[in-house]
């Protein structure tokens, strides 16, 4: 198909996506929020409650990150780091992973991450929120953990979950795959890595 016709056809699809997004907003507006417990997580300076993560904000975005064993989760987090100041102006934002706090600190420093992080510790937060399926050991391995986001709102003494979503290639939360989709015949085997410098040097 000609360039102009292809662009017109693609834009028609984008218009369809916008219409579906409008329907999603309608659904989200009608949600009965889910009251959740005030979980105790492992913060960088000791135990921290879910309610503490709100800081001075009414709303809280929690990223369910699979930890340092997941290059894809790391790429998503790199993207959040880029827009962290913008997100933090609207809502509190924290990334939670199964890694111990000491591992989180080292990894965050290596990537230049600026957002707050907490460890699931021995809490049931991940399981209860639907971001842990299996019974794998609580270590740096990927087993059992799922990546995604939960959004919360404070309502007096209560904490309400307003929404959640899983992460995966082509989702709304990582721009990289959408850029690659603009290249016809883009290599489908491309996978994110922690660092790309090594291969260039070889």
């Amino acid at each position: 198909m000609s360039y102009a016709d292809t662009m017109a056809a693609l834009n028609a699809k984008r218009t369809q996506i916008e219409a579906i997004q409008a329907e999603m907003r309608e659904l989200q507006a009608g949600v009965e929020p889910q009251e959740v417990a005030d979980y105790v997580l492992a913060g960088w300076n000791g135990p921290v409650r879910l309610s503490d993560l709100f800081g001075a904000k009414r709303d809280l975005i929690v990223i369910h990150n699979m930890g340092t064993g997941c290059p894809a989760c790391t790429m998503w987090a790199d993207g959040f780091n880029g827009v962290y100041d913008h997100l933090a102006a609207r809502a509190a934002f924290a990334l939670v992973s199964p890694n111990p706090v000491a591992t989180q600190k080292t990894f965050a420093a290596s990537r230049g991450w600026r957002f707050p992080m907490v460890s699931y510790g021995d809490s049931a937060f991940a399981e209860d929120m639907g971001f842990r399926e299996g019974g794998e050991p609580l270590d740096d391995k990927l087993g059992g953990w799922n990546p995604g986001v939960s959004t919360f709102r404070r309502d007096g003494e209560r904490i309400l979950r307003l929404s959640n979503a899983e992460f995966g290639p082509g989702d709304d939360f990582c721009v990289v795959f959408h850029l690659f989709d603009l290249i016809p015949g883009a290599d489908p085997s491309w996978r994110p890595r922690y660092s790309y410098a090594q291969e260039t040097a070889q």
């Binding site: 579906i20 609207r90 290249i183 016809p184």
Partner: protein
Amino acid sequence: MSYADTMSAIGAKRRQIEALRVEMRALQSAIEPEPVADYTFQGWGGPVRLSDLFCEKNDLFVIHNMGTTCRYCTLWADGFNGVYEHLADRAAFVLATPNTPQVQQQFAKSRGWRFPMVSHQGSSFATDLGYRLEHGDEVGENSSRWVPGISAFQRDASGIRRVSNTELGPYDDFCSVWHFLDMLPEREARWEPKFKYA
């Protein structure tokens, strides 16, 4: 609707969007690319051609950024900056604006941007590729006539071809922030990006 039913209904909508994306990839793969000239830009180290921007890659993304006066374009660029190494592994990535290289260098430094930038000031690049409106206020490099977007290019022995382009705007696929905001319904206030929030 209950939380579980709402999440299930929203999940079904997400799958509808995924199906549309499959159709979009099929359309994109069948495109007849558009030959483009080897434009000359003002690079940070002197004149630079579009063909130079590929470096050793065969694919190139050029972000059409409206310049230092656009808070929205700056938000999008902050996001690209976060994943720059990932993008740069697959394709060359350059941000083009109407600002002079001097202004670009100061602004990039203030934001910690790591990607290459070029100025299209004095070239017809933006106009030819559809990123400048024919009508609108004309106030030099801060003109409201610039349009934000992305062009993707490929090169081979026959030259440079544009293989896709799109505009940028809230709720598009190229900035995650708006999709987070959709998960935090807010009736009383409309969030807008700023350069700084302190």
